[in-house]
Structure formats: C-alpha cells, structure tokens
C-alpha cells in the first residue's frame, strides 16, 4: 500500500524590510476614497510631510485607488502588488520607483521523509524556468527568486519527486521531506524535469555513489558491498591489481587523492585485502572529483574523494546489520530528541580470522588477519539556523601474516562541525578535527623483540561560507589550517634485558593553511565556477637538518654540516596560488560542453618503495629537500542526456602535467632512515586520456558502461631529455559495465563485467648467479605488460517476505545476497615471479600468479528492524 505522504512545513521569516526607519511609512493618508492619477497622489502624500522621493518621468501615468486612513505602507504595498510601483527606504527617505519585482531567498533543507536524514545532492527546480539548485553536503539549498508564485519540484535519485506551489512574498525557510521509492517494479514515472544534474552542474568529471538511495552498488567479492570497489567501475578510476590497496585517479598516484570522511582526511582507506574502511551501512554519499577540484579543497594533487556518513534516523530507533564471509556489521540509529537530533553508531568486524585458522598449518600458527571499524555520529538541529555534528571513526587492522612480525595500523578521526545560517543567503560551516594514522610493527626478528611505531596526526580548523546572490550566482570562501605532526618512527624494545637502544627519528612539524574565494555564476548559456586557492606550508622545528654539498645530490657522503632548529623556528616555507576554472556551456536542453582547469599543490607525500602502497609506508612533509608536488589538469567533456534524462552519457578528455613527484632510488632504504632525502628523487609525470560513460538511471533495468583510454607516465627529472616511462598502474584500455535488473518484488540480480589491458611489467632479459643466488637482470622498466584482465561477476539479492502468512506485516526487513565472483574462473595474472627452478637449480622459471584462479562464491545476510 502506498501510504506516501508529503510533509511540507514552511516557516516564513520576517520581511527583509524590517530594521529600517519606518516612521514615514506608518503615516496615514488622508485623502478621500477614490481613483486618482498616481503622480499627483504621491505629490500630495509628500506635501503632507511624508519623506517621499520619486522621479515623475520614470513613473507610469496611471490612476490608482486611494483609501482614506490607509497607511503609506499599505498604499505602496497595494501598488506594488498591482505591479505599478516599487518602493524602498534609504536614509529615512521613501524612494518610489517604477515597478520591479523584489527578490527573495528560498532556503532550507531537503530530507528523507522516513528517517528525516538530510539528502545530499537533491534537486530543487522551478517549473517552467531553468532555475534551480541542489542541496550541499549538509542537505541545505538556497535560491533567490523574484517574488511570485512558483511550482517547485523536488527530486532525488531513488525518491519520488514532489511538486508544490510556493507563493514567495518574503524570504522563506522551507524544508521539504520526500519519500523513497518503495516499489521499483514498474518503470518509474519520469517527470518532465527529471534530474539532469550531470549536464547542468558546473563541476565536470564528478563520479558519485549515492549509497543510501537505491542506486546500484553491486556486491563485490564474497558478497560484500564496498565503496572503493564500486568506484573502480567508474571511468578514470583504477587499482593496480586485486591485492593492491589504493586507487589511481586519472593517472595519479595513490597518495594524490584527498580522502575525506566527514571532512577529516583518511590516510589509509584500505583494510586488509581491498576492503575499504568505509562501512557501507554508515555511508550516505560518496563524491569523487576527478577533474575540476573546487577551490574549497586542496592539499592533494589529483582528486578529492568525499565520503559523508549518514546522520541516523531522526524519527525512530532502528537496527540494521549483516553477516557475510568477510565481515559482520551492525548499525544502531535513532532520535535523541525526536525530529531534532539523532545518533548513528556502527561497528564492523572481520571474520577472516576463523577462516584462516581452520586452514592454517603449524608454521602459520601466529598468522592472523583482522580488521574492525567503528563509526559514530551525533547530530543536533535545535533550530533552523544551527546544526551541530559530532562524528568519529575508529579503525584497527592487524596483519600477522608472513614478515616475522605483526603489523597493526589504523585511522582515527574525530570531528565537530557547526552549520550556521547567518542569513537565508549566507550559509556557513565551521569544523575542527583530529585525524590520526598510526602503525605499529611488533617485530620478532633477528635482533630481539621490538616495537616500531610511526604516526601522523593532524589537528585542523576550517570554515566555509556560501553566499547566494541569486540561484545562478553564489560565492564561496573560507580558510583552513592543518597542523601536521609526523612521527616517522621510533623503535623500542620489549625486553628489558636487551642491549638495544631506543631509536627515535626526529618528528616533523608543518602548518598547512589555505584560503580560497570562488564564484559560481551564469552569463547567457555559460555557467562559470572559478576561484583561487592560496595554500602555504610552514615547516618548523625542532629538527636537525643536514646541509649537503651544493654541487652534489644529497647522499651520506655529501653532508657538510648540520643545522639545529629550535621549537617553532621556521625551517622552510612554501606557497602556491592554485587557480581553478570550470565552464559549463549549455549547448542545448539535453546537452552541455564543460571545460575545466585545476592547479593543485601537495605538501604531503607517501614514500613507498613497493608497487602498491603498504600500510607501513611513511608519510613525509615537504621540507628543505622535498618540494611540493604541483599538478595541472586540463579537461573538456561533452554531456548528453536522452529520453528525458533516463539515459546519461558523456565523453571527456583530460591532460595532466605533474611536477615534482617524489620517487625513490633503486634499492632505497626507506625504513628508519633519518635522512630520507638521500634516497629520494624528484620526477616529472604526465597523464592523458579519454573517458566514455553511458548510464541508464531509471527503470526495471539500470546500469552503466564505462570506458577509459589513457596513459600515465613519468620520467626522472623535470624537462629532461629522457623518455617518459609508463607508470606501474597504467592500463591503456579499461572497460567496465554493471547492470541491475529487478526481476520481481523480492528478487533482483546484477552483473559486472570488467576488461582492461594488463598492467606494465618489467621482464628480465638475463639471469646470473651470485653466490648461488639466481638473480634476474632487468634492463628497461615497464616495457612489457601482463596479459589482459577480464572478469564477470553475478549477484542475486533475495528479499524475505514482507507479509506474514496471517497477512500481517513483518517487523523485520531482511535480505540475502548471493554472489559469484570471477564467474568463468579466469586465471587473471596478478604478477610474474622470476625465480630459480626447484627442480633444475641454476635455471630460471617464470611463475604467473593469479590471486583468484577460480570462481569465488559468496553470501551475505542483511537485516533491518
């Protein structure tokens, strides 16, 4: 039964005219009732002592009705309603002008009617016009319109669109609540203004995963749904292999993605394997900025991945969760004060451990992998002007496989945010957060038992303001400051009897700050989003900095002096101006052409000497020796929608020039190295590509097709004559498609197919023997490729009955997901090992290694009550 109700509540704010001297307006008119010419009437009011000013040649020659005893305000107001004159009060003078409509701001939040959680990216559109807007990351919208009556349409993917009429006569705060689609069987009725955000938005190259709505999130390996895995099905987003953590966006390195969870940066988004740290039950919305980076963001060179956690149901308590082969999860949420504040708490724990134990043999007795995360969020919305959020994430990982050591790592973030409406047109967000990433290696190796710790902690404050002049013109500005404290490593021993000494590498301190100003505006068919970000890094003591001979590269043998810096003393300062520009040319009702340019600076680098990042890699601030990485990206794309926006398509081209990427020398010793600069190199990179995307958004059958043709390469020095060498993660062709079909009320199915060129590989030309070790000899790096990768996955979602046998409704909502990963059991090659043959010592053999050599079934059960 469709019991959908639209709830509309409107709180009309006070007129914007309040607060001005009103004495003249309140004077009463003493003219006999009747119709009189306008100008003489005004003159006679003026003569009666009312400070009225008007220019006779700009007012119409028209008769107006006058009522004896009416106030000047009521009289003028009536003339305004009749569209004869407009008036305003300036310096105690009442200025009467030819009629012009007044502008008022309509603002508020759009929420889910069932849970009362705000909706991010929901659309508000004014029927019959091209005016409209979308809600920001806090579900907030603001549009300024001429006074008058409007048909307003609220729409959002996965929700029923809602129409209402609004008579805008003053600034108004209007909250809308819309209902999610319950039945998806029939083709959903498409309203004439279905969501066309992809063509109308002035930010190009955004990939979006709306987790809480009914958009497709296909289950991945073993039945798990994963945000990062799903993002890999989008154009321009790649991972190096099935065992690799981290994603590469438009040819960028893994450390070049700014990954924000409720605005706090996450340093390692990956648990063991390729499971992301984002518990899908706790996530509301994921937005990936691949091309244009709005000036409000910075600090990383290639992209921004913005993950927002859910707020929690504001109307009723509910529990949801699930259990699969990989993990078990539970979410509790509910109102603290009904309609005003709510909480959400979620926990997830890996179940890998028992699975491994049962297989493990004796020598694997200590081997354990596990992860856990906890997400907490409390929000309070005591009134329409203020909303407070407190959110936290606590993740822990432990991997005791191989390495003679136990590795523990985890991200922790805690942040407080305050949304405040200074006025209907001025929205602000203030936030402060602490984000920590740390790892610990418990070493039971050769030289006695020890613990190795490394940590990066950020303390940050940030503010963002949005001022909307009118629907098509807003400015954004703000500042942020992050104090980074990096403890690259200290090693302490467990054993009191041991003779080893405590080693502590110097901590690094940096203040990364930025301010920005940007404007979004419209001129004819062109929409502009442009701005400037000014970012700085102050690197300061206490620290010992080595001085190297000026004529030589930094190395142990070229040290000539050591300089000590006091606490707080400035060691190095960097600053960068980062212009950003995006233009959307609305070439037609269903298409647009977008161009963008972004310059970004990155002051924090992940130093990794492995092909894919490891959780124990070191983060390093730019300093005397390590310059910031500078990235410039140019992109252009054409967006076309079909069939009333049921189909979206786009083609985009990009070119990126990356200066001063940090790399390392062959055989670099990166662990525990006080003078990391002696092992590092500064590279120049570039990447370019074309991305095609076709998506069907509504209907029984939904899904998309994505194809990327690209190249990402690097060379060892800026502007050198050397040839560029293709990067480890480069894939020339990358195709993926994913489709979901609603078979019946209770059963739906989905399928993914992926195809990509194999990643580059360095093959040995020769082998040789040194002390009976067979050594492969490599000549040219990344000159060959692994075989192409392709894979098909299936999944079926089966919902339990909603109605019991006796006809009553079941309280619980539960479903099963069955998945088949790698359906045709392709042995996709993950890597080659070049090793000595065990059967024929002295001879080399190439072993191809596939992580999944077979079909992998999976099952998960999820519930909600």
């Amino acid at each position: 039964m469709n019991r959908s109700k639209y709830i509309l509540f409107a709180v009309f704010a006070l007129s914007c005219l309040s607060g001005i001297s009103q004495s003249g307006l309140d004077s009463l008119i003493t003219i006999k009732n009747g119709n009189y010419p306008l100008k003489p009437t005004l003159q006679s009011i003026k003569n009666s002592g009312v400070p009225l000013a008007f220019s006779t040649n700009k007012l119409p020659d028209i008769e107006v009705s006058v009522r004896n005893g009416e106030s000047v305000r009521d009289f003028l107001e009536r003339q305004h309603t009749n569209q004869i004159v407009s008036y305003s009060v300036e310096n105690s003078q009442i200025l009467v002008k030819a009629y012009a409509p007044r502008k008022f701001t309509l603002n508020g939040r759009i929420r889910d009617a069932e849970s009362n959680e705000h909706l991010i990216g929901a659309n508000i559109q004014i029927k019959g016009t091209e005016l409209g807007g979308t809600t920001n990351g806090y579900g907030y919208y603001s549009i300024t319109l001429d006074e008058g009556k409007y048909n307003v349409i609220i729409s959002h993917i996965g929700y029923k669109s809602f129409r209402t009429q609004i008579d805008l006569r003053s600034n108004a705060y209007v909250g809308f609540s819309i209902n999610p689609h319950v039945v998806q069987l029939k083709e959903v009725e498409i309203s004439s203004i279905a969501n066309d955000a992809n063509i109308s938005s002035n930010i190009p190259s955004v990939s979006r995963l709306n987790v809480s709505s009914n958009s497709i999130l296909t289950p991945y390996l073993l039945g798990e749904v994963d945000v990062i895995q799903n993002s890999l099905l989008q154009p321009g987003i790649k991972a190096i292999g099935e065992d690799a953590g981290g994603i590469h966006i438009r040819g960028g390195r893994v450390d070049q993605n700014l990954i924000l969870l409720d605005e706090a940066p996450i340093y390692n988004p990956i648990h063991v394997g390729q499971v992301s740290v984002f518990n899908p039950d706790a996530v509301n919305d994921v937005k990936i900025f691949k091309g244009f980076i709005p000036p409000a963001y910075g600090g990383r060179a290639s992209s921004v991945i913005e993950v927002r956690q859910r707020e929690g149901n504001k109307n009723k308590k509910s529990f949801s969760g699930g259990i699969g082969i990989l993990s078990a999860r539970l979410v509790a949420e509910g109102p603290i004060k009904k309609g005003k504040s709510s909480f959400l708490a979620s926990a997830r724990q890996s179940l890998l451990n028992p699975s491994i134990e049962s297989f493990a043999n004796t020598s694997a007795r200590r081997e354990r992998i596990r992860f856990r995360d906890i997400n907490l969020k409390i929000n309070s919305n005591p009134n329409e002007r203020n909303t407070y959020y407190l959110s936290g994430y606590f993740g822990k990982d432990r991997n005791a496989v191989g390495f003679n050591s136990i590795r523990n790592w985890g991200n922790t973030t805690l942040n407080f945010r305050w949304n405040h409406l200074f006025s209907p047109k001025l929205f602000s967000n203030f936030s402060s957060f602490i984000s920590e990433y740390s790892y610990k290696v418990e070493n039971e190796e050769l030289s006695g038992t020890s613990v190795f710790n490394s940590r990066i902690v950020d303390y940050s404050i940030k503010s963002d303001f949005t001022y909307s002049f009118k629907p098509t013109n807003e400015i954004n500005f703000g500042f942020s400051a992050i104090f980074h404290r990096l403890k690259p490593g200290d090693r302490e021993t467990f054993d009191v009897n041991t003779t080893t000494s405590l080693i502590e590498l110097d901590a690094e301190h940096g203040l990364e700050s930025a301010m920005y100003l940007s404007q979004q505006t419209e001129v004819g068919p062109l929409r502009f989003n442009y701005g400037l970000r000014y970012s700085t890094l102050h690197n300061f003591g206490p620290e010992q900095v080595l001085v190297y001979s000026p004529d030589a590269l930094p190395s142990d043998s070229t040290v000539v002096d050591t300089v000590s810096f006091r606490p707080g003393q400035l060691i190095k300062f960097y600053d960068n101006l980062e212009p950003r520009l995006a233009i959307n040319w609305r070439t037609g009702p269903n298409n647009s052409l977008k161009m963008a340019y972004s310059k970004t600076a990155q002051y924090l680098h992940l130093i990794s000497n492995t092909r894919a990042p490891a959780p124990t890699d070191i983060w390093k601030l730019s300093d005397t020796f390590i310059p910031p990485t500078i990235n410039e990206q140019y992109s252009i794309g054409f967006y076309q929608n079909f069939k009333q926006n049921m189909w979206e398509s786009s083609i985009e081209f990009y070119y990126r020039d990356i200066r001063k990427e940090i790399s390392y020398k062959n055989g670099a010793d990166l662990i525990f190295n006080e003078n990391l600069e002696t092992e590092l190199l500064v590279n120049q990179g570039r990447s370019f590509g074309m991305e095609l995307f076709l998506k069907k958004k509504y209907g029984k059958f939904t899904g998309w097709l994505s194809y990327t043709l690209s190249r990402s390469e690097t060379r060892f020095e800026d502007d050198s004559k050397d040839a560029f060498i293709v990067n480890d993660f480069d894939k020339t062709h990358d195709f993926s498609t994913t489709w979901a079909l609603n078979i019946s009320d209770r059963v739906s199915a989905s399928a993914n197919f992926l195809y990509s060129t194999g990643i580059p590989v360095t093959l040995p030309s020769d082998k040789y023997s040194f002390e009976n070790n067979l050594v492969p000899h490599f000549v040219d790096r990344n000159q060959s490729r692994l075989p192409d990768y392709h894979r098909l996955d299936f999944s079926v979602k089966w919902k339990a009955k909603k109605i019991k046998k006796d006809g009553s409704r079941r309280k619980n909502d539960d479903f099963w997901v069955f998945t088949l990963y790698n359906v045709y059991a392709r042995k996709n090659v993950n890597s080659y090992f070049f090793q000595e043959s065990e059967l024929n010592p002295g001879l080399g053999e190439i072993v191809q290694y596939s992580i999944f050599g077979t079909i992998v079934p999976g099952i998960t059960y999820s519930f909600k009550f």
Partner: protein, 276 residues
C-alpha cells in the same frame, strides 16, 4: 613474501603456474663475484656471464687473467680452478688499513676493474648457544616436535656504523631458507651486545651448528641488500620494483658495457656447536 603468498593461496583460491613468455634479448654480461677475507687462505674470484632468463646454466669464463692489487703496489695473481672460480696462487689475507682492487683482463683484451675497497675490523661472536621451541609436527598430527635454533650474541664496536652479514651452516651446508642473505646493521645497538635469535633456521639433535659473522663495508652491504630485494620479493603488489643490481665493477675498455657483481672484503668470525 612467500609466506604471504602461501596464505593468500589458501584463503583466496589463488593459483601459480609456470609459464613461458617472450623475454627481452639477452645481454650476456660479465658477472664478477669475489671476496677476500681477513684469514690467510686461497681467496677466490668467480667469473661468469649472464644469459637469457629462461636459458640454460650460466656459462663461466675460464680464460681470463685475474689479479688483486693493493694501494701499496703489491699484487696477488689468481689461477683458474673450476666452475668459473679462480683461486689466488698464494694464501693471503686482507689487512686493515690497506685497500684492494680486482683487475681482470678478458680474452678479448677488455680490462675490468673493481673500485678500491678497504676491510673492516672484525666483530667477535661472544656467545653461541642452542635454544629450542616446541611446535606441532606436520608429519605426525597430534604430536609435537622440538626445533633447535642458534642464539648468538656478538659485541658491536661503538662510534661508527657497522654492517654485518650472517651465514648459518648445518653440517657444513649453508642454510638458505628462509633467507639466503642475512644482513644486519648496528643502527639499533651501536656499541652494545647484538643478541640474535635465528628462530627461523631449524636444526635437529646431533646437527653441527656453525655460524659466521662477516663484518662488511657499507658498499658491500648496499649491494647485498639490493641483490636480496631483487631475488626474494619481486613482483607482487607488496614487493619492490625491479631494478638493476649495480655493483662496484666496471669495464674500462668499454665503459658503456655493464659489468654485474661485486668484489669486496669481509672480516669473518666463526663459532660452532653440536646440538645436544
């Protein structure tokens, strides 16, 4: 790395297969391997050539002229023995304070030289003892077995960086599992005792447990580290990227031609015990 892969195989349905794929053209580079120790003995140098990775055994060079020189102008001549190895005609040892250089003249007249290398002073093994632990016997389920391993203490000399290499022998055979090259620096115990538990090197009752501690130069250490990274942890996502293992040898006649390998010195301490 191998162990990580093993567990992934178990858990993630993975598979390994030996394959034949086209490889870049072979380079046939000269490979030099040679050490001189601080013990009076016939020192060795081995000369061979690299060949195609999937090709037959590496060919050895039997007809080169091999010479080790000192800065003082003294030289030791070497003669071919077998399997590419040349032995010094006379037993001799490297002396602290002196520097050594290898010179090789190939049949085609190419002059091959190492850089000058000194020898570090010896670090003594203070104590070698046998320790043990129990573990489940994979061959007899339900039964435990005792694994014996060496526990060794050495005394590091203070004030400067030392670089070490350990070699473990079981009944005269070098143990190469889990690692064939065991390296260590004194960074964490400068000037102190170096306690080492080689719990991963397994001995049984009655075995002759022999250990050697080589004190080597930084250059030798760097070379061996790179060599080790290129032989043990290649190719998976969590592994080091492939690189050329550069040593300290060059071809003076044709400088553009890469010469692989290393010629170095090592100060050796030895101890042994019978496992009882």
């Amino acid at each position: 790395m191998k162990r990580l892969i093993t567990i992934l195989i178990i858990f993630f349905f993975s598979c390994e297969e030996v394959v034949v794929i086209p490889l870049p053209t072979e380079q046939n580079l000269l490979v030099v391997e040679g050490w001189i120790t601080d013990e009076v003995e016939r020192q060795y140098v081995r000369l061979s050539r690299s060949n195609s990775f999937s090709g037959p055994l590496n060919p050895v060079i039997e007809d080169a002229t091999v010479l080790v020189q000192t800065r003082d102008g003294l030289s030791q001549t070497y003669s071919y023995s077998q399997d590419g190895s040349y032995l010094s005609d006379n037993p001799y040892r490297a002396i602290r304070g002196e520097e050594y250089r290898l010179s090789v003249v190939l049949q085609n007249g190419d002059l091959i030289r190492s850089t000058w290398t000194p020898i570090e002073s010896k670090t003594d093994i203070v104590l070698l003892s046998v320790d043990s632990f129990e573990e489940r016997d994979p061959d007899n389920p339900g039964q435990n077995r005792t694994i014996y391993f060496p526990r060794i203490t050495a005394r590091d000399s203070a004030d400067y960086e030392n670089f070490y290499r350990w070699i473990l022998f079981k009944d005269g055979q070098q143990l190469t599992d889990p690692e064939s090259i065991i390296l260590q620096t004194d960074r964490i115990f400068d000037g102190n005792f170096i306690p080492n538990d080689f719990g991963d090197y397994q001995y049984d009752l009655g075995d002759n447990m022999k250990v050697e501690l080589h004190t080597i130069t930084k250059e030798a250490f760097d070379f061996l580290s790179l060599l080790k990274s290129q032989t043990t942890t290649l190719s998976a996502a969590a592994s080091t990227t492939p690189a050329i293992v550069n040593g300290n040898i060059s071809n003076l006649s044709r400088p553009e031609e890469t010469v692989l390998g290393f010629f170095g010195t090592r100060a050796v301490s030895t101890d042994s015990v019978i496992v009882r």
